[in-house]
Amino acid sequence: MLSRVADSLYWMSRYLERAENTVRQLDVTLSLMLDISGTSAEVRWQRLMASLGRPPSMEWDGDLESMARKLIFDGTNRASVTYCVNGARENARQVREEISSEQWARLNRLFHQIHSPNAQAQFSNSINDALASVVDGIHLFKGVSDTTMIHGQGWQFIRLGRYLERAYATATLLEVYQPALFHPAEREHSGYQYLELVGLLRCCTSFEAYCQVYTADLAPDRILEFLLLNRDFPHAVRYTADGIRHAIESIQRTGGRRPPEELTSVVGRLHAMLGFTTIGEILAGDTGAFLHSIREQCMKIHELIYGHYVDYSIHSALAV
């Protein structure tokens, strides 16, 4: 497959995953603000921004609705959902011949939906409905991708983008939430603490899944264990690391070139790190550093993929 095409599929997928993550976290933040707790809107907004990677030009201006509107609709801001959907569509448009007509139609519909004047009106009437319809659009796209596209290299690059983005986002989220999880503010009423924990789980659409595994008995160490180390839940970091490894192996199987040692070993290390560490060990050590190293490994994997499949030098390719 053409390197440029692989690159576009990868980014199309990353942008959509990012859009979904942003919508979900915004949704959770807004609904937590309904309950009057000691935490101010500004503090929550700062936390949201930190878990979205501290995007520029998103400083708190005191008006929650206008901030939320900006985070959804301001296409000039790189953190906004609109910007991500635009990016995904632009990438898809450049590889129209690689993706199925159904995928394109789906993504196109999402694009026109978020840009239509109705979207703004819907947002004013019911923020939740507006956010839910965006997430629906993204879910439909993912479903159509899995059912209408050949599961070859292109599809694997889509998966690679999705899992890498998700691993990075979940690790960032946990890194931001982690200190407060174990040291709740003293005056915080236990009911509010409960809502905070539900909120964290809902950021990863994992509240119901968590209950199935641990019952509704919410405990910070279990939540951390679930979101980091669960093997079977698609938003757990360990599951996404498995996905990354699997995608790279499949890409390698369908192609003729072996990936460089370094890529294989970085991916293997991340996979082993999450597969063979217990939550006890993580909590006994420096939890923040552990989470931070996940993010760094994700970035390293991205760079190595890019250098090997997309932006390689012609001399190295001719030498083979």
């Binding site: 053409l2 450049q94 129209r96 011949e97 394109w104 196109n108 026109h112 003729g256 070139r257 012609i314």
Partner: protein, 489 residues
């Protein structure tokens, strides 16, 4: 029986309302207003449909175009403005005998033009025999001296052609221009058909329309037949200028329908006169390039140095015979608007036959006498810049202002070789759905000709419509639309 016919007549009257007929040929109706026999079934179907049903089908067709992203990009506005290609719901019908003449005429014309290109780029006999003035060829901006003495695979210079035909008020089809560089629009022909089959399934079935859906397959076979020697499993790619090109949708559409890679210049590299594309699996050799990039932008080492749309070294690989590029470079010479006037002579010279399809009468402005005539009659004529296409750089005399005419007169005096003039044509009109009734609009016809082992024309083409009332410009970049074209068995 007679009362039945009266009812039918009433239905027709409501359908047509104040549908005007004048000197121009109407595709659907005779001069006395009667519906032409082959349009009868269509007219009856329309007359029976409730008005809002037509509107409903129109909206459903429009929506289908939008969600499929069947759009084109308009230049000269914000970069990347996307629009749906306007589409008229009523098909344009062409009878078997009319099509037979078009098919034979185009086959003859394209064969002759291909021989002409081969000759001009080798011995140039037609110039020594003084059939065509030498300076006309050598002053053409699409003449490529780099092509002199170069043999192209199977001697095919023009593998993909889209000639524009008009129908005059006599009912005769004439050729307005031959697009021999990178003709576009074929994807609209194919998508229009798909939408029409859904919109009027019963009518379509009852008409016995010849199929066009195999065009991508024929195109692929044509490209494969032009592969370099010794490459039995050629790697064929489509080279696009990229996502900002107005025909980008078409490039992706064709690549997908043919199952070949769509590449941009930045995907290609050359090494030792071989063209490769960059894949996730390393470099892969490219054998045939169906290019949708103009000569000028194809290779910065040979043509325009400031272009990054092509691939450096492509032309040398082509010279070395390691890659086929279709259409060949320099084919724009034969669709130069000034050389156009000589096409009938070209046909007689190479084939020793009379042209089956005629030209539109054309004045060459570097001829002193013709130029004086044209300058005196600018308000009646259409003036075109020879190197332009897409309806850009054009003066339509009867619809122009004094200032515009003066401006063109100045430009003609300054560079007469750069312009031609033609009479303003009363070309044919076909009924279109405007609002919720029928109105006639000017139409042309662009059939698509493929030339590999032999000349191959899928029975159909793009009927372009000047959707604005009274307008004569059918180009999509200037507010034109399209219709599905049904060639009847």
């Amino acid at each position: 029986m007679s009362s039945g016919r009266q009812v039918e007549q009433m239905e027709m009257d409501t359908l047509f309302g104040d549908y005007p007929l004048d000197r121009a040929f109407d595709e659907m109706r005779e001069a006395d207003g009667a519906v032409r026999p082959h349009y009868r079934a269509l007219a009856e179907t329309l007359a029976r449909l409730p008005h809002d049903e037509l509107q409903r089908r129109k909206q459903s067709a429009d929506l289908s175009f939008l969600t499929q992203g069947i759009t084109f990009t308009v230049y000269g506005r914000d970069e990347g403005t996307e629009r749906i290609f306007p589409y008229d719901l009523l098909p344009r019908l062409i009878t078997a005998s009319e099509w037979d003449q078009i098919e034979r005429g185009l086959t003859q014309r394209i064969t002759a033009l291909n021989l002409f290109l081969r000759d001009v780029y080798s011995d140039a006999k037609i110039l020594s025999d003084r059939i065509i003035p030498r300076e006309l060829v050598y002053s053409c901006k699409h003449y490529r001296r780099q092509m002199r003495g170069l043999t192209v695979p199977r001697n095919v210079y023009i593998a993909v052609v889209g000639s524009d035909l008009l129908r005059l008020n006599t009912g005769e089809f004439v050729v307005l221009e031959d697009n021999l560089r990178v003709p576009s629009g074929v994807s609209y022909m194919l998508t229009n058909r798909r939408v029409m089959k859904r919109t009027f399934p019963i009518l379509f079935n009852s008409y016995g329309v010849r199929p066009i859906e195999h065009y991508p397959q024929v195109l692929l076979a044509t490209l494969r037949s032009l592969a370099p020697e010794g490459r039995p499993e050629p790697n064929i790619v489509l080279l696009t200028p990229g996502v900002f090109n107005s025909a980008y949708f078409e490039h992706t559409y064709l690549a997908r329908q043919m199952g070949i890679d769509l590449v941009e210049g930045r995907d290609l590299v050359t090494h030792d006169n071989i063209v490769y594309m960059r894949t996730t699996d390393g470099l892969k050799r490219v054998d045939v390039i169906y290019r949708r990039v103009d000569d000028d932008f194809s290779d910065p080492l040979i043509f325009r140095a400031d272009s990054s749309l092509g691939c450096a070294g492509l032309f040398n690989a082509y010279r070395a015979g390691n890659v086929t590029v279709s259409n060949a470079f320099g084919t724009g010479l034969a669709d130069d608007k000034a050389l156009y006037a000589y096409v009938p002579r070209i046909i007689r010279y190479y084939l020793n036959e009379d042209p089956i399809l005629n030209n539109v009468e054309t004045y060459l402005l570097n001829d002193e006498k013709e130029r004086r005539h044209v300058l005196a009659n600018l308000d009646k004529l259409v003036v075109k810049a020879v190197g332009e296409s897409g309806g850009y750089g054009m003066l339509i005399g009867p619809q122009s202002t004094v200032a515009q005419r003066e401006e063109f007169a100045r430009r003609i005096e300054a560079n007469p070789r750069n312009y031609i003039a033609q009479p303003t044509l009363d070309f044919s009109r076909a009924p279109c759905l405007i609002g919720n009734h029928l109105e006639p609009r000017h139409v042309d016809l662009r059939p698509y000709v493929l030339f590999g082992d032999k000349v191959n024309i899928v029975p159909g083409g793009l009927t372009r419509v000047a959707l604005e009332k009274g307008s004569l410009v059918v180009n999509s970049s200037q507010g034109g639309g399209s219709k599905d074209t049904w060639i009847l068995e």
